[in-house]
Amino acid sequence: SFNAASSEAYVGAFVKGIKATAEQYGYDITVFENNYNQAEQNQQVEQYLSSGALPDVFIWWPPDAVAGLGSLRKLAKTGVPVLKINQLPNEQDKAFIFGYAGPDDSLRAYNAGEMMVKAMKMKQAAGGDGYNVIALSYPHSYGGYGLSINAFKQAIAGTDLNLIGDIGEGFGQANGYKGAAKLIAKVKDQGIHFVYGMDDAILTGGIKALEEAGYNVDWYAGTGKSGSVDSDAVITVGTVCNGDKQMITDGKQFGTTLQSPLHEGQLAIALVKEYMENGKLANYINFTPNPSVTGATMDFTALRGFDGKLYGINELCSGAWD
């Protein structure tokens, strides 16, 4: 498997997952990491291939959905089947891979959008108003950005919600914070009522910035998790649950759409198994589930992994989910 550095919490969990499952099925797997750096991966691929030793299957996670094509072509040229993960295949890829395993960026974002609409309704019910949304995004140069932002817009289209700001400072909490701080300064006096984080790591940083700027992001009314919303709170919704669980438990984050690196790892191996056994995949695109999770539902959420076992949310999520 060629993938990004396990320094990234999500990738870290993914690597754990894929190794564990591979072991379970008796495959042995080598993981090549890179620093979210396509050029670096290209060279690794080059070097690995030059060693002449070929595996039965390549599992390929491009740091950049588009820029990875060079490496993909090299891998494919060897005749060894390639499974693409994490980044939805685009037209050029199709010729070189036998399938895709990973999240559905669009669905993920769409669910987030719907969750926000739901929250908006609850807030209205509680007598709050204000419908301005800001998005804390991936860098706009990054492949996943387009899919996500469009799906999200779709989900909130037709409602009162309107997107007034979108900044892509970078990945992770640190950049999430920086970006949010800047965006807040910009749109402050238009008013901010809803925040969409393209992933929870970014959102966690964003929430810190919001709090510092004096916003109330705690959506629980006095009643606790009764499902009613504090009418003047800024509602934040994230995805991927790779951030800080505490944000949700404290009610600073309304909800997230679960995306489990564990699933992704397991699914990848499962598909490899399927492909090895009957030479093809039942279906070409295979998504990991992206259910919505809110503070209210969180503790009861459990999902079946692709190994058949049932996993609690803490096992499924990456980031600060012990």
């Binding site: 550095a5 620093n35 290209n42 990875g68």
Partner: protein, 344 residues
């Protein structure tokens, strides 16, 4: 040949660089059975095509007594331009445009440095950011990529077992630059302003010419590195390639170039780049986490630093010894004269 050997043995830093790279290679050759194979050698040369160029770019600046932080951005910019223009204009024209932009940028920096008399490191801190942004703009903050992959396929095809058109071109560039630096008046001027700027100016060397040439050269090399990367993968990003600066600098220093300027050369740059490549390539087979690769690379650099520090101390000791020796041999005869003349 034998005076070539003489030259190497005279230059302590260079010979140490050679020794070091030899050790690294042997280490991996022993521990990884496939390492000593022409496939791997091919891969190493492929990587050399990039890192070597960047190392060369930095080596030239350092020889001129300056350091250019903007090469990473310059490379990225060139990569973006070339990849973007290859589809409409065809690779050759695209390369010409991209490379002339990079070279021009280098030359401009050289001019500014010579004209204002500021340190390159100062101005290139700024241009690092500037060019990075420009690259991002030209790429419209997306990843630019080819639709037609014949070019990448061509430049990565194997020739003569070890080489590809890419690596062959780079080796050719190395030879040309090497000849230029060592055998032409202009090359020697670059060494001069690097090694002893005050003396060079007193000798009547115009600061601007060598400075502009040096930075134009390094800009060209950086740009070419970017071109190779871009065309090999068929894609380019505005934010990419920042890692080249570090890798290239390490390569240059491991190659034994002296930061004080005026010393080192193309050969050293090549060896430095190879050493780093041996290391990286070797480590790939251990499938280590990224930070270990960085760790080991820096350890390599530290070894060089320690060696150079020690050899400097040793040199000064030697210098004093020889001084005292020459005095002692002049002593007897002169003191003899003194006795006879002054009766004391």
């Amino acid at each position: 040949m034998e005076n070539f050997l003489k030259k190497i043995t005279k230059d302590v830093d260079l010979s140490f660089a050679i020794l070091l790279s030899f050790c690294v290679y042997v280490f991996f050759a022993i521990n990884i059975e496939v390492f000593f194979s022409h496939n791997i050698s091919f891969a190493i040369l492929e990587r050399f095509a990039v890192l070597g160029l960047v190392g060369l770019a930095l080596t030239i600046c350092i020889i001129a007594g300056e350091i250019d932080l903007s090469i990473g951005s310059n490379a990225a910019l060139c990569a973006v331009i070339v990849v973007k223009l290859t589809d409409p204009l065809g690779a050759p024209l695209a390369m010409i445009i991209g490379l002339s932009v990079s070279t021009l940028i280098g030359a401009t920096q050289g001019f500014v440095i010579a004209f204002i008399r500021i340190r390159a490191i100062v101005i290139t801190v700024g241009t690092l950011m500037l060019l990075r942004g420009v690259a991002l703009l030209i790429a419209e903050e997306k990843t630019v990529m080819l639709t037609d992959f014949r070019v990448p396929d061509f430049i990565t095809t194997k020739v003569l077992m070890y080489f590809s058109p890419a690596s062959l071109t780079v080796i050719f560039i190395f030879i040309c630059v090497g000849i230029f630096m060592r055998y032409t008046k202009y090359g020697r001027e670059i060494y001069a302003i690097g090694g002893a700027r005050k003396e060079a100016l007193t000798a009547g060397i115009p600061l601007r010419r060598p400075m502009i040439i040096a930075f134009a050269l390094s800009g060209f090399c950086a740009g070419f590195a970017g071109t190779v990367i871009g065309l090999k993968s068929g894609t380019a990003q505005g934010l990419g390639l920042q890692y080249l600066l570090l890798a290239g600098t390490v390569a240059a220093f491991v190659g034994g170039v002296s930061i004080l300027g005026g010393k080192g050369g193309v050969l050293g740059a090549a060896i430095g780049a190879l050493t780093v490549n041996f290391l990286n390539t070797g480590l790939v087979f251990y499938a280590l986490q990224v930070h270990f690769v960085q760790l080991f690379t820096s350890v390599l650099l530290v070894i060089v630093i320690v060696f150079q520090t020690m050899s400097r101390v040793f040199d000064s000791r030697q210098a004093r010894k020889s001084l005292l020796a020459t005095i002692d041999e002049r002593k007897t005869s002169l003191l003899e004269k003194k006795r006879s003349a002054l009766g004391r």
